[in-house]
Amino acid sequence: MPEPHSRDVERECRALVKHLVGVDASDYVIVRYARGLDSATFHEGLGQGTADRVLRRAWRMGGLGLSLADTYARFFAPAGEFRRRAVLLGAILESSPDTFTAFEPPPAGRLRAWSALVGAGLLFALRLGVAIVVIGPLHLGARLMNGGTATAEGRSG
């Protein structure tokens, strides 16, 4: 019997699983993710920065919004709430029966492996450019509205 969790958490988990590994989330992963969000270790040192407030709107859109939030967060809120949630889910996915192989090398020759690496790098660069153009001004605006206070973006996002 799965444990109760909110619809929001389930929706968020499903979208993140799809984004990270491209499959549907199992009930086991959703329950584990919900429990992880409630765990003491998740909340240790977790703060709230302006970037996270902006990113939350983007990642809850799912799809492209989520993808851009992930890319933007890597450099502008690397230890923020979004990254923590995604790392939590990544750790669960690499340990779970249905998804751990998504972290293992697929059978491929050298050429395919190198091509995949180059392709992933190029797409990332493209996404990073779009994320900076789309989310950057929103982030900057939010910071200015906050009086430009120097929130610890690096640590808490």
Partner: protein
């Protein structure tokens, strides 16, 4: 004859105890002794566990997901696997204050070596130069320990730094990545050797054929979570061997705080408290402190304070500096990944230096079943791209753990802050880095990176991690053995010069700390000291 009382069941304590038992004496071993949780699904592979366990996340990451390394977390790259958390569980009442040092303590049956990675490297003549004995004096004890624990390895290019001793069984099967590294080394050997760099097989306390009731390595890939088939030796195996003697008494669940002495400074009683707080007392004829250099020092210091009122300071604390150098082997891109293989280091890298005792030792681990999420979090991509990149490079990831020697210095010390109310004292640790060490460590890491380039591996400098001092857990040097005499020293047989019936059997007595893992020498020295009892 009264029993010899040993404190601590780590590598020194159990090998001291077993040697004394084999001589026909009685032994009482007092210990906190947290026990290892029972092994689950003993013969499942690492991937098999993920498929077959009802809750693999709990096993791999812990019930409260304490095995996750979150972004921005201070400290080490990896935490302690949940299955090994029992090793560090605090029994309560043990307080420490430290400066420049992040100590780790164990309260497990078997001690800190229950979490070791199995490297067994005898000290050579140059590394023993400050010890009051030479290679020929300790070689029989190394051979005895090798016979007891089982050691696999090979006498190869690293043999120039590691003396040979009896009892080495054939080495483990190399995984594909380690084989590629050895092949590249063979091709580039001449140039690397000219640069003073040598590569070879690790000598490991992991057995490749059944030995002393333990099974050979089954290559299940579960090493990081604790070997399920006991192929990797840990001191709790020798503790179990001791228990087969009817002259052996094991007293777990006790935190020893101090001993009391009579007017001639002869130890009469050992004191402490049980885990429920009730007082503990044990009569003593001969006392052996083997609780690890820091814990033994604390017992010693508190005893001195209670006996004399003196708040002594023991200088000369040593610990190996460790620098982690992650690398990517381009030869492995697109090649298969082998989770069902041995997971700790199978190769070693040795760097010659101007002074032979300052040899630099690297342990090369090819990363396979290591948790992915800390690596994903550190790659310079969003997490989705990081996963895509990670799975393509996973089979080529590796790590060199570079170890450096340490020397006794007056500004590295342990002392106690006594409790005025008469309770347990606080252990105070001070450590200051050797001012010359940073430059020599930087130069050594540059040599390691150059050697890796010769093996077609790339070691990105932003990923290099200097571990906090204390992380190596190779603590030593605060009550050194010497034949020159002096307070707070021991004889060459590890007998205290301050208390006539006290033997210090652990790393506290080491007068020098080479770059090698000291556990093998801890065990051999305990055998040597016990033989002289």
């Amino acid at each position: 004859m009264k029993p010899v009382v040993v404190v601590g069941s780590g590598p020194s304590g159990v090998h001291f105890a077993l040697t004394v038992l084999e001589k026909g004496r009685r032994v009482t071993l007092v210990d906190v002794g947290h026990a290892r949780p029972s092994v689950i699904r003993q013969h499942d592979t690492f991937d098999g566990l993920k498929r077959n366990l009802d809750d693999p996340v709990e096993y791999l990451l812990g019930n409260d997901l304490e095995g996750i390394t979150y972004p921005g977390a201070a400290g080490e790259y990896y935490g302690v696997p949940p299955g090994k958390a029992y090793i560090f569980r605090d029994p309560g009442g043990f307080t420490v204050r430290s400066q420049g040092f992040e100590p780790l303590f164990s309260w497990a049956a078997g001690g800190l070596a229950e979490a070791w990675t199995g490297g067994v490297y005898p000290f050579n003549e140059a590394e023993l130069a400050d010890f009051p004995f030479g290679w020929s004096d300790i070689e029989p004890s190394y051979a005895e320990v090798a016979r007891r624990i089982g050691i696999s390895g090979e006498i190869d290019d690293l043999g120039r730094f590691m003396p040979a001793h009896d009892g080495i069984m054939p080495p483990l099967e190399l995984d594909l990545h380690s084989r590629k590294l050895i092949d590249r080394y063979t091709a580039a050997r001449a140039g690397l050797n000219d640069a003073g760099c040598w590569l070879g097989r690790s000598r490991l306390a992991t057995i490749t054929r059944p030995h002393a009731g333990r099974g050979a390595c089954e290559y299940l890939g579960r090493c990081l979570w604790g070997c399920p088939v006991d192929a990797l030796y840990t001191p709790s195996k020798t503790l179990a061997e001791c228990m087969a003697f009817d002259r052996f008494e094991y007293v777990p669940g006790v935190v020893v705080t101090h001993f009391t002495v009579d007017s001639s400074r002869r130890i009469r009683k050992l004191r402490g408290h049980a885990l429920d707080g009730s007082p503990f007392e044990q009569d003593v004829d001969t006392l052996v402190l083997a609780a690890g250099a820091l814990s033994s020092a604390r017992i010693f210091l508190e005893s001195v304070h209670r006996a004399t009122g003196e708040a002594a300071r023991l200088t000369g604390l040593m610990d190996n500096l460790q620098i982690l150098v992650p690398f990517l082997n381009f030869d492995m891109i697109g090649l298969p990944y082998q989770p069902s293989s041995y997971q700790y280091h199978m190769l070693g890298l040795g760097l010659e230096t101007d002074r032979p005792e300052e040899y630099v030792h690297g342990q090369i681990t090819t990363l396979k079943t290591t948790m992915a999420h800390p690596i994903l979090n550190n790659l310079p991509f969003d997490l989705r791209t990081a996963r895509q990149v990670f799975r393509r490079i996973r089979s080529g990831l590796g790590l060199v753990n570079v170890n450096f020697h340490d020397r006794r210095r007056d500004d590295c010390a342990v002392s106690i802050d006594p409790d005025p109310a008469g309770g347990d004292a606080t252990l105070v640790i001070e450590y200051r880095d050797d001012p010359g060490e940073e430059a020599s460590a930087r130069a050594a890491v540059a040599r390691v990176r150059k050697a890796l380039r010769s093996l077609r591996c790339f070691a990105p400098s932003p990923m290099i991690h200097v571990r906090p001092r204390g992380a190596s857990v190779h603590y030593a040097g605060v009550l050194p053995m010497t034949d020159r005499g002096g307070d707070f020293t021991t004889t060459p047989e590890c007998r205290s010069r301050d208390f006539e019936n006290l033997v210090m059997a652990d790393g506290a007595t080491f007068p020098f700390l080479p770059a090698k893992n000291i556990t093998f020498t801890l065990m051999a020295n305990a055998v040597r000291a016990a033989s002289a009892l």
